[in-house]
């Protein structure tokens, strides 16, 4: 059981304990697709989408496993069920809205095995959130992830027209910017603690 207010869950996941900048989750996509604004926003959208789905799956699974008394299957069932569900949803989208599929489609299968997704499922279980809290937490984590990704993409596009020294070009520079962003986000620490 957890009494946290929805607002505080939201602020916490977006700003204070941003998945990327404070928890180091989703670093690979963060490094990989933050080069272009367009892909960044799409990736953000796709991740948020999968987060919500997997959060619901995990919530259901957790209740189920608790009921049948097999908590040890949690991890393995999360990963399998989430992957399967996303696959189904992907097929569904492809049928129903090819436009949406074109926008998000290519990212979906890659994302399922991404740590943000699994981490959300594990964290929400650990924190004992109820259904609505889970939903808000998923949306907020997605928003936080998207925020970090989009900020980074804007900066990297800007830096396409710069001449960083050879030795830091590429991943090193991206990591350094991530560090500075993480520093900047520290300003939000303790938001709502008083």
């Amino acid at each position: 059981m957890n009494q946290e207010s929805l607002w505080s869950i939201f602020i916490n996941a977006v700003l204070i304990n941003n998945f990327v900048l404070a928890y180091f989750l989703g670093i690979c996509p963060f490094l990989g697709v933050s080069g272009k604004m367009e892909t960044a926003t799409k990736m953000g959208g796709a991740v948020t989408f999968v987060l919500v789905i997997s959060s619901l799956c995990a919530y259901g699974l957790h209740s189920l496993l608790a009921a049948i008394g097999a908590p040890y299957l949690e991890l393995i069932s999360y990963i399998v069920v989430i992957a399967a569900t996303v696959q189904l949803v992907e097929m569904f989208i492809k049928k129903v809205s090819p436009v949406l599929f074109n926008a998000l489609g290519i990212f979906l299968p890659l994302i399922t095995t991404n740590c943000v997704i699994l981490a959300l499922a594990l964290f929400q279980t650990n924190k004992g959130y109820n259904f609505v809290q889970c939903l808000v937490y998923a949306l907020a984590s997605g928003a936080g992830f998207t925020l970090a990704l989009v900020l980074m993409a804007g900066i990297r596009e800007h830096l396409d027209l710069a001449e960083p020294p050879n030795i830091v070009k590429g991943t090193v520079l991206t990591l350094m910017i991530a560090g500075i962003l993480a520093l900047s986000f520290m300003g939000f620490a303790g938001l709502g603690s008083n």
Binding site: I155, L159, L181, L183, S184, G187, F188, N194
Partner: protein, 350 residues
């Protein structure tokens, strides 16, 4: 006609050719930077007057660290040294001005190195940095040494010209002795104990705080000097300060118990120095006027949010860094309508 012979005598020089325009306004980037240094000097001198030798050593150390780092890194990457453009001096001076007067010198030196190396050099040097270098340095120091950076020194202490603070001369890598006191700046006094400070004292600089943030009047004068000379975009400080004022005024009148007066917010902490000298760093701010208003409003709003609801007493630095992070987006999204085109850039007819 005497013909060719005379012609050759008359014009000895070979002509220079260049492409138009052949006139330049005459203000160079180095002139701008140099003037910013002049505009900061009154604030720096007041800081030395108010805090004594410690502040002097601090400012010298941070400036020297920045200039040396800039020079060294340029040499290291086999490029001509860029210290003559004065921008490293500004970075160093501003870094020093945002630190507590009794900040250990070795930490200030480290901050200078971080400012230039991480805040500027890795992005490609002058003009390419996304974040304000001085604030990158300060943010690094604040995260690395949170205690030292919230330990303050009394203003106008009687022996300030004869001795330096013990903390100032801490040996490298060592923990400073605490001869200052913590948490007594107007902002933390307000945040944690709801004690407000007189606005007049704040504006005139009779209150302790970071080295350069105490005397708002001198900061504003420096800003006006630069704005008049068109070396500073006045929209930025105005939009930040206006946003802070309006938001705080609304909150204050809704609950005067809980929220401070807008005047207190304007003149306390690093807001004035940040709004006038740091948010205005053109490299990290949007290029269009509309973009600049949004940037300013965003910074102002973040300052209010962090100060009033956040965990930390002060948020100007974080607000500006976040503003810096957003400005490439603002430049991307906000483009003035090009002459002879519609809002989205398509051609207009008739």
């Amino acid at each position: 006609m005497q013909g060719k012979s005379q012609i050759q005598n008359v014009f000895k020089k070979t002509l220079n050719i260049s492409t138009s325009p052949h006139l330049v306004r005459g203000i160079g980037t180095n002139d701008i930077m140099r003037n910013v240094v002049w505009a900061l000097l009154p604030t720096a001198l007041y800081a030395v007057y108010a805090f004594g030798l410690s502040a002097l050593l601090l400012l010298v150390t941070s400036t020297v660290a920045c200039v040396l780092t800039e020079h060294f890194l340029a040499k290291k990457s086999k490029q001509p040294s860029t210290i003559s453009d004065w921008s490293a001096v500004i970075t160093g001076l501003l870094l020093g001005l945002t630190l507590p007067p009794n900040f250990p010198l070795w930490m200030a030196f480290l901050g200078g190195i971080v400012s230039i190396a991480l805040g500027k050099f890795v992005f490609g040097g002058l003009g390419y940095n996304v974040f304000n270098p001085a604030l990158v340095g300060r943010a690094f120091l604040q995260a690395a040494f949170p205690v030292a950076i919230t330990t303050w020194f009394p203003v106008f202490s009687p022996d300030r010209f004869s001795s330096v603070s013990v903390a100032t001369s801490t040996l490298p890598l060592m923990e400073p002795a605490t001869d200052g006191f913590t948490g007594a700046t107007p902002l933390s006094a307000f945040k944690f104990d709801h004690i407000s400070t007189d606005t007049y004292d704040l504006a005139m600089g009779f209150i302790t705080g970071s080295t350069g943030e105490t005397c708002a009047v001198l900061i504003i004068l420096g800003g006006i000097y630069l704005a008049v000379r068109k070396m500073l975009n006045w929209h930025i400080p105005v939009s930040i300060l206006a946003t802070v004022y309006v938001l705080t005024a609304l909150l204050h009148f809704s609950n005067p118990e809980k929220y401070p007066t807008p005047e207190f917010m304007l003149f306390s902490g690093g807001l004035m120095l940040g709004a006038v000298f740091m948010a205005t760093d053109m490299v990290g701010s949007p290029i269009t006027t509309a973009g600049v208003w949004i940037y300013g409003a965003l910074i102002g709003a973040l300052v209010v949010v962090i100060r009033l609801w956040g965990g930390l007493p002060e948020g100007v630095m974080y607000a500006i860094l976040l503003g810096n992070a957003v400005s490439p987006h603002l430049d991307n999204l906000i483009r003035p309508r090009v002459y002879g085109t519609g809002n989205r850039g398509e051609k207009v007819r008739g």
